[in-house]
Point group: C2
Chain length 521, copies 2
């Protein structure tokens, strides 16, 4: 057997400095290699940070003045290097990418102060993306651990990472994360603003929030969650819910509105926010502060009232050429999932939808990566562009390194299942390559094509540890006895050459068949 | 805080010997206790087996002669004690249970030689059920380990267990499993028949198969997978598939048909099988030997041709008052799942559907409990009555005890998500109880209401191990600072008493709110 492997390769785009990474899987048996989307970045020394891949592109655009966002260029008819990069990455035409960005149906989060990113796109007509949340808290505050989680999450396939740090060292943690991230970084600036006013929501105001936004903008945050849709009049709508307001940002803004009996300063100052976001090309992630926190509260008036306001804000942001995506729930039973996407797409002019799960039941804490992967796969199929992961620790504790991996893998599964259901051609090719390897007992190819080659190999070896078992034409489910010939080949010959004739020949050869059984029953 | 707990209780039915087990969860804070469906059985000494709960009921019916199946009685208008038991267990009227069984829409697998079962029902108008596969193989053959897996699987919620043993000691293993099982046991008799002819499919014949059926019938197997739909003319339809025939039973019968160039003996002797099944009240699980083994092969002609034959066989079995369910795939992308249920229900006269997954992508070996829980939840929602679990070891190796648990929990999630989406009232009540406990920081109640209380507690304690944290009104996601008051209560007062007034009062009390945030963002 030839040696097979996974390795990183770069594919050149139309300009020499557009070089797009892929994981290439070499296959055995004369099979064409398979190229997989690669989010792992170029690798770095955490103390030095990553090289500024987009540095020259951003520099070329200096002098264009404010509003030099990807949406701005797309609307002007200009294909940016970022769009060219994305086109190669997704296997699509640059002009298609530009069209989708121009229409607001997709965003390329790319703060001018984060040149280290490898451009990626979020939109329903592209591969479904996933986000991983990391961040320090009052209970756990190691910066090194968070940078390690970032690297770990992108190794397994996170397309963006949100730094949700609270507690001490927020600025410094974020600096380390941004400088070491080849994927866009998102934040919820409200958390840091709250720290600045000693954790008392009532003391928040536009000035401290604006100052926080500018601080994070300068550092290079690519998209920011802004809970500007939690309006004063919506707060009472959550009163009779089983779980009230569960979004942290939503709770903070509800508290502020109640304390001041004023309209949310995020809403009243939204146009000023747009001006800042345009200057840095920060994308909005319009937060769903009133999302349901339980099955009982799904799709209620509080949630959809806020959604209508998010639709209004989307269109305001577009006036400023600012890119926008819109956040969604949360906890939703399966039969109520589709309505979420349909309404959001209608109300928000097809701006990309970015959902947390949703969890399809509340009864399985410690397994909410699974309860939510079910909902995430479905909502992705229905048109959600990015899925925010949920780890097994959701509702219970802070995710550690293992939890981050479990969450990312569960969501890569959901996103890929969605791509398959949407009929994405590259998605199907990956499944076919793995299934063909499985059927032909090319074990190493099967491992290398897996979302998690390490664990697939480990599980195989647990039952059949000997090295020859990895080239054997059987597996532990049936053992060696059933696997003497290839029924697939027999079937093909049989179909081609006539049934009676082959039947006789088959009987003469001993009547043995190849039973490629790796499934029970 | 009062002490809360999970405990087993028994609810009396209309006759004194119908006593139905539930897990009762005592709750704190004046909440009503919650009763959950309980599959764990009465517990036993593995050497002695379980008490014969149904012994008297079966004895009462002796003398009725052949055909004394649950379907027979249901059609006659008789409500059996088994139906009464099921009615209490599902919270429905006995007459409704009888109606569903009589219509063939539901089955109560209950071999007269397996009196140890606690009756359960499989049908789309009841709670969605799950099956766990266990069994020895040529590679791993400890009987004690399999009995332990049985107990373990039912502890976590398996509604039925299939003993898929191959290799040595098949009879003895099954004997131990049946005698210790309070849930129905299913088998694939073809496996043992194949052992009797030295593993050579060509040597199989009706006589050795019939003898095997009788042997297992006498032991008390409640339902048997019979791959009688793999007809000679269908075998070539699988020739051009990416993964050919992946069902073990399907492969064996395809091999037999090819070797003899004769129609399957399972098909030609099907009426004789019905006579035997009627005598013992064994239910058919009509196997889908041509189910797809990859995304590429889903919903193809081979699969649906076999399904049409299974529809024909279903109606033949019903002539003999034999209960029937029909097996389904396998590997199916999300957008092709619904067609499977719709076709099966139409073709098979609404006989219960029993599917393996389906896996919604092929690219995640080692995580196929997740790839398939997505498909299982959806297909359950669409009307599948029982979901056969998939463990993380699927395609790679033999499941150990931990894998069995992972598979069972993933499938309990899928089944429950399906029940919620179908609008089952008891399902929603469970979610609401847990969510209310979560919102009110009744941590112990949240743990005890969980599918896996042990792991929920363990994950919580990993971040906040101190005992007081379990009564604390905060969690590790936000830490203690945000959680000073109950926003839920504030919101209710606010809505009731007018906004301005409360706003002032709220500001006076310090403007603090209760932020019940156990979710990020």
């Amino acid at each position: 057997m030839a040696k097979t492997a996974r390795k990183k390769v770069y594919v050149d785009g139309p300009r020499p400095d557009v070089r797009v990474p892929f994981t290439e899987v070499e296959l055995d048996g004369g099979e064409e290699p398979v190229r997989l989307y690669d989010t792992s970045g170029p690798g770095s020394d955490p103390e030095r940070g990553l090289p500024p891949l987009r540095g020259a592109w951003i520099e070329e655009r200096r002098g264009d003045g404010k509003g030099n966002t990807q949406l701005h260029y797309a609307r002007q008819g200009t294909v940016t290097p970022e769009m060219e990069f994305v086109a190669v990455r997704e296997g699509l035409e640059p002009e298609f990418v530009r069209d989708e960005v121009a229409a607001g149906r997709a965003i390329i989060p790319a703060n001018v102060n984060h040149p280290e990113t490898e451009p990626m796109i979020i939109g329903r007509n592209f591969l479904t993306k996933i986000n991983a949340n990391i961040g320090t808290s009052a209970v756990s505050d190691s910066i090194a651990a968070e940078v390690e989680k970032l690297t770990w999450a992108t190794k397994w396939g996170a397309d963006t990472v949100m730094d949700l740090s609270t507690g001490k060292h927020i600025h410094e943690t974020r600096e380390h994360i941004v400088r070491n991230s080849a994927v866009p970084i998102g934040t919820v600036p409200l958390y840091q603003a709250l720290e600045k006013v000693d954790g008392d929501p009532a003391k928040l105001n536009w000035e401290v929030y604006r100052e926080t936004i500018l601080e994070q903008a300068e550092q290079g945050v690519d998209y920011m969650t802004v809970h500007a849709g939690v309006l004063l009049r919506y707060v009472p709508l959550a009163a009779d819910r089983v779980t009230g307001i569960v979004s942290r940002g939503g709770s903070i803004m509800a508290a502020w509105c109640l304390a001041h009996h004023e309209e949310s300063f995020l809403y009243t100052h939204f146009r000023e926010l747009c001006e800042i976001f345009a200057e840095y090309d920060i994308s909005f992630s319009l937060g769903d502060g009133l999302r349901p926190g339980s099955i009982a509260d799904a799709n209620d008036e509080a949630q959809f009232a806020e959604l209508r306001t998010l639709g209004e804000l989307t269109k305001i942001a577009w006036e400023y050429d600012v890119q926008v995506m819109v956040e969604g729930p949360g906890h939703v039973p399966m039969h109520k999932i589709k309505e979420n996407v349909d309404l959001q797409q209608e109300i928000c002019g097809e701006a990309p939808f970015y959902t947390l799960g949703p969890l399809t039941t509340d009864v399985a804490p410690a397994y909410d990566h699974i309860t939510s992967a079910i909902g995430a796969a479905m909502i992705g199929w229905f048109g959600t562009a990015m899925l925010c992961y949920v780890t097994p620790k959701e509702h219970l504790g802070l995710p550690n390194r293992d939890d981050v991996k479990e969450g990312v893998i569960a969501y890569k599964i959901a996103a890929h299942a969605a791509d398959l259901a949407k009929g994405h051609p590259a998605a199907q090719a990956w499944d076919d390559a793995l299934s063909k390897a499985r059927f032909e007992f090319r074990w190493e190819d099967q491992f290398n094509l897996s979302l998690d080659p390490d664990r697939a190999r480990e599980y195989h070896d647990e039952t059949l540890p000997a090295e020859p078992a990895k080239t054997a034409h059987f597996c532990s489910m049936c053992g060696p006895k059933f696997c003497s010939m290839k029924i697939s080949q027999e079937l093909k010959d049989y179909a081609q050459q006539g049934m009676r004739e082959k039947s006789e020949e088959f009987a003469e050869t001993g009547g043995k068949v190849y039973l490629p059984v790796v499934e029970a029953n």
